[in-house]
Symmetry: C2
Subunit: 337 residues, 2 copies
């Protein structure tokens, strides 16, 4: 078996590549390096620089590397940017997926894993979000993920492909400092950026109907997330080998809510800071509480999270500190240019 | 004002073109003639033969004809085919829409009307379906319509375009025999085809939880539907002229349910047949009852249906009879080839 990992040079992708390699699986990375970094791809893992929108690159890669399964993580993932550029997001995320699935179907590849997101649920009005909670995404980003899931399941049925859609909750942490998230679009790196500027964390809204008034989320360590991919990819390969084509849609979360205020405390503690958070007004579209039920993935794949939130904070901070020099260099280069 | 009508050589498209022309609007048709027929485009209306997936044709057409608004009806619309070929449906319907909207945004066109469908609702568990009834499409066709609506609204917000999504219920009838539906994918022409074969109508399931046990639908005369497009296109142009970019999503139905058994009676009566229907098992995915609330379109556009179901039947039958010779010729050509 050889798995093609699209977006394998990204933050999550590189962790999935690492986990697959550690588990003894053969992998090939396809990444257009628009946000990914080739340094994240380990030695010995072939990197094809190209886009999932490029049919010819896909055909060649699948043929030359004898790909038997695809783990599709490539895609645009910034909610705010998707509101400004919805056509770009549909082109990259939905059309990219369409081209990739057509290549997969035509080449006879029989298993396909798709990275989806808790954003498909929108504002879920339930205590724990199960996979049967109605989907009502609130941003073009979330819409491209839900439309992507529909397409994956329909193409799987039409063409005999085992498929999985993994709905990520809030991903944080790093397996090694080099693989840490370098973007600043999630809570943890956003707070780190404020620490560097000498400021405390920013909390958007403390008047939500939750115990401490701040939003509640379900954080998942990227290493746990990556291991869920290994388990899912192997399950798909098992189904495909038996010609028993099925689809699987599962949440990946810890099944435990952590409020933003609690997270800020953990962040201060885990990084040795002692800065009071700054309370800002609510952001439009932020649901009060989104916590996964992780029962289904545990039942079907035997997977469960092993790392707690403190480990996410300390590993992310180690990565942030290690990348400080690189960020300063980048900053200086910008000012020189 | 000049409106580009994509899919204007199709059954519904030709009726929209006719209604726009009768209302004094200037129109241009873009149709790839994959299912449309150029004979349906009236003299004096320019026909550009091309696909909405062809960016260059779109740019040229918008520029040369000084298009100020787009009525987008082109698309694939067979539910069963969409299950077999989901990738084709996403490419044609979602990617086609993405390319078209990008051309519209780049050219500064400020109003855009999109043909959606009651299929976005899936199996609505309500007596009357309002525009706020949750959407949960059941086929790739319906999914491409809902994803299309999302994209239309998001692109409208991002680029300053007034948009409308019109959710068609069950369209039937013809304004003139030449414009009648030539496909046999809807109840009315399917029954006519059985009449021609000497058989009675086929009813799929008579054990639904409805008064007579057969499914209940909301039928709308294609002439009424076309007039709703004129009203919506004018409203969009009015908003755009005031630089007040809004989006409008409305049902187009009569707001009255007709059961399949009642429809079969009307069909027998309207065509002079007297054949007992044949009861077959339920088809998977057929909801028991789907009837529109037509309040919103009446309030916002002042539109309401003028033609009843009997008029749909008799006008459709006149078209079916008129096209009999053409169908026989086509049949003979196939056998000769």
């Amino acid at each position: 078996m050889t798995f093609l990992i699209t977006g394998g040079a990204g933050y999550i992708g590189a962790h999935v590549v690492r986990a697959m390699v550690l588990a003894g699986e053969k992998v090939v990375v396809l990444d257009d390096l628009s946000t990914g970094n080739e340094d994240r791809v380990p030695e010995g893992v072939p990197l094809v620089v190209g886009s999932v929108l490029d049919r010819l690159v896909l055909e060649k890669t699948i043929r030359e590397h004898k790909i038997t399964g695809v783990v599709h993580l490539a895609g645009k993932k910034q909610v705010g940017e998707s509101v400004e550029k919805p056509l770009y997001y549909y082109h990259e995320n939905v059309q990219g997926l369409t081209v990739l699935l057509q290549a997969v179907a035509d080449a006879g590849v029989r298993n396909f894993l798709f990275s989806s997101s808790a954003s498909v649920y929108g504002m879920p009005d339930v205590d724990l979000v199960t996979e049967d909670t109605p989907c009502a995404p609130l941003s073009p980003y979330g819409e491209t993920k839900l439309a992507g899931e529909w397409l994956v399941r329909a193409a799987g049925k039409a063409h005999g492909i085992s498929t999985a859609c993994l709905r990520y909750f809030n991903v944080a942490g790093a397996a090694t400092p080099e693989l840490a998230d370098t973007g600043v679009f999630n809570l943890v790196p956003m707070v780190f950026e404020r620490y560097d500027a000498g400021e405390g964390a920013k909390i958007f809204g403390d008047d939500y109907p939750t115990p401490d008034g701040t939003c509640i989320r379900d954080y998942i360590h990227v290493e746990d997330l990556a291991e869920a991919h290994v388990a899912a990819a192997r399950k798909l390969a098992e189904w495909a080998a038996a010609e028993d084509y099925k689809d699987l849609t599962v949440n990946i979360g810890r099944g435990e809510g952590v409020s933003v205020a609690e997270m800020v405390e953990l962040l201060n503690k885990g990084t040795g800071h002692d800065r009071a958070p700054v309370i800002s007004p609510r952001r439009p579209g932020d649901p009060a509480k989104v916590v996964a039920s992780a029962d289904k993935i545990n039942t079907v794949l035997g997977w469960q999270a092993r790392h707690d939130v403190s480990e996410m904070v300390t590993s992310a901070w180690a990565g942030w500190e290690a990348n400080k020099v690189a960020r300063k260099d980048a900053h200086r280069d910008v000012h020189k240019a």
